[in-house]
């Protein structure tokens, strides 16, 4: 089933044409990976999906982006959109508060006040993010004292706590060691039963390992979009082939 539909989308930062006529339809309960060299616009596209680009001054978007057939740049409330489309950032960004409060921030934002309910959500989210066992005795401790890998999984748990339908991951493992990366990849594979995951990655092995579909971007253009197997075994475009075989980028 189709989750996100991007049609004839263009994005400008001031005069710079960052994304050129992108058409991309992404499926539900699948992992879609965006690959491409730095500056190709893949992160920019990701941030357009939950309107984080609204925060960037001088950013203009044309075209259409639909979530379940509903125009996200239309009448949809942006805070509701971001509740439905959660995000994990490149650099782990836990808030300077306790582990518990970090997770509970989202649910509290959306009106859950009941202590028991919050306790349940915190435990469930941390379990889903495969970090409950490590953190269950440190819920009241500051999240800033955790290791980099733990912080990133905490941020995933925080995103899961608001029960999003889609999870956007912006190079979420690029700053982590291989073991933490492995844990997060495993996690993604587990999560896709219930969530739609869209990830930006610089690591082509990662895209190959866990994604179902892959889109290749170059200089603001979406060059090729297909099942990951097809992209990596039989790329249609010469530029895709050159990139995945490491001849440029």
């Amino acid at each position: 089933m189709e989750k996100f539909a991007i049609d004839n989308m263009n994005l400008y930062y001031g005069k710079f044409h960052a994304l050129k006529n992108v058409n991309l339809h992404m499926e539900q309960n699948k992992i879609t990976a965006f690959i491409g060299p730095s500056g190709c616009g893949k992160s920019t596209l990701l941030k357009s999906l939950n309107r984080m680009n609204d925060l960037v001054e001088g950013c203009k978007i044309t075209g259409e982006i639909k979530l379940d057939g509903e125009d996200i740049y239309g009448n949809m409330d942006v805070n509701i959109l971001r509740k439905r489309v959660g995000m994990v950032f490149q650099k782990a960004n836990p808030f300077p508060m306790s582990v518990y409060d970090n997770i509970a921030f989202g649910p509290r934002t959306h009106g859950i006040k009941n202590k028991k309910e919050l306790d349940r959500i915190v435990e469930e989210s941390l379990r889903d993010a495969a970090i409950w066992d490590e953190l269950k005795d440190r819920l009241k401790k500051s999240a800033l004292g955790l290791s980099g890998g733990q912080q990133q999984r905490l941020c995933i748990a925080r995103a899961l706590a608001i029960k999003p339908e889609v999870l956007l991951m912006d190079e979420a493992t690029s700053a982590l060691d291989p073991i933490s990366t492995g844990k997060i990849e495993e996690l993604c594979l587990k999560l896709k039963d219930n969530y739609t995951i869209i990830m930006v990655t610089h690591n082509m092995q990662q895209a190959l390992r866990i994604s179902d579909n892959t889109a290749f971007f170059l200089l603001g253009e979406m060059v090729e979009y297909n099942s990951t197997d097809a992209i990596f075994s039989a790329p249609q475009d010469k530029r895709t082939e050159e990139y995945i075989t490491g001849r440029f980028g």
Binding site: N50, M52, L55, E57, N79, I80, L81, R82, K83, G86, M87, F89, K91, N93, P94, F95, P96, M97, S98, F105, G106, T109, H110, S142, L144, C155, R158, A159, I162
Partner: protein
């Protein structure tokens, strides 16, 4: 040999000659090669020593002159021209500080939130406000006193009063609070804002729950600076708060703050010893307020951490 050095027995640690330790001799050799850096070291070390010495000298001097004059009379509940009690002034100073902060902090912090979080970057209005705040922060306090006298005391007909004094001082410390708060807000990492917005939190919630708590130590530093100026102020108060010797029991009654009290005592020349005693009290009061603020800052820090 190699085996011995790997041992980490506590007894051995002392005997280890760490090669990364810079000896005095090595340092001298490197200074010989670069005499300018030795000169730099001497200049900054001397500056630090002189600054510290000046501060310590004043403190010790005040304490030596003042402590012998800390008689029970000085703390009598009511002032008369015999005991020149500073008790009313202590209470008045605390009340004045609270009133001033109650007026200045909401406006100062509010304005800073607007400048840092809402106003567009490069907005002309913002630049004008910033320049004005910087100018206002540097104006001699007597100018504020004069304005307070003309506006609050006469035009609004509040007379010499707690209200007139507090409003005058509030205007005086407003730029300080505004600027330090704005700096504190700007240093909050954008990743916190992104994280909060990304979870569907609105601007208001992001500011109240995430940004302000993170900026709290910086904001409190500004408030402490403001408290210092309020407690130490005389020129702006003499013609607004006045120098009545009793307790300022209601917002429209006059009183004297501790600093004004000291000024009057010194000015009259009859109670110089008591003025020294009062100076010790002022010193302790400022120290106390700063310690309390640091404690509050730590408490708030713990709460979020």
């Amino acid at each position: 040999m190699a085996d011995k050095s790997i041992k980490t027995d506590m007894n051995d640690v002392k005997e280890i000659r760490a090669i990364n330790r810079v000896s005095f001799k090595q340092r001298m050799i490197s200074y010989k090669r670069k005499p300018l850096s030795l000169l730099m070291l001497i200049i900054v070390a001397a500056s630090a020593a002189i600054s510290a010495a000046a501060l310590i000298f004043i403190m010790v001097y005040v304490l030596i002159r003042g402590i012998p004059n800390l008689t029970p009379d000085l703390f009598a509940l009511n002032y008369n021209s015999d005991n020149v009690s500073c008790m009313p002034s202590i209470i008045n100073t605390v009340v004045l500080t609270l009133f001033t902060l109650i007026i200045a902090v909401p406006f100062g912090v509010g304005a800073a939130i607007y400048l840092a979080e809402y106003a567009k970057k490069g907005n002309r209005l913002v630049k004008i406000i910033r320049t004005m705040a910087e100018t206002l922060a540097g104006i001699p306090s007597i100018v504020y006193g004069l304005f307070g006298m003309l506006f609050f005391v006469y035009a609004l007909n509040w007379g010499y009063s707690l209200l007139a004094g507090a409003f005058t001082l509030a205007i005086m410390v407003l730029p300080t609070i505004m600027r330090t708060t704005e700096e504190a807000l700007i240093t909050v990492p954008d990743s916190y804002r992104e994280g909060s917005y990304g979870l569907g939190a609105g601007k208001l919630r992001t500011i109240i729950r995430i940004i302000l708590p993170s900026a709290m130590p910086g904001i409190l530093a500004g408030v402490i600076l403001a408290v210092g100026r309020i407690v130490g102020e005389t020129a702006a108060l003499i013609y607004t708060y006045g120098s009545a010797t009793g307790y300022a029991a209601n917002p429209l009654s006059s009183g004297r703050s501790l600093a004004v009290h000291m000024y009057v005592l010194t000015n009259e020349g009859l109670h110089t010893n008591q003025a020294w005693g009062t100076a010790v009290v002022l010193l302790v009061l400022v120290f106390g307020i700063n310690t309390l603020s640091a404690f509050i800052a730590k408490k708030l820090g713990n709460k979020k951490g």
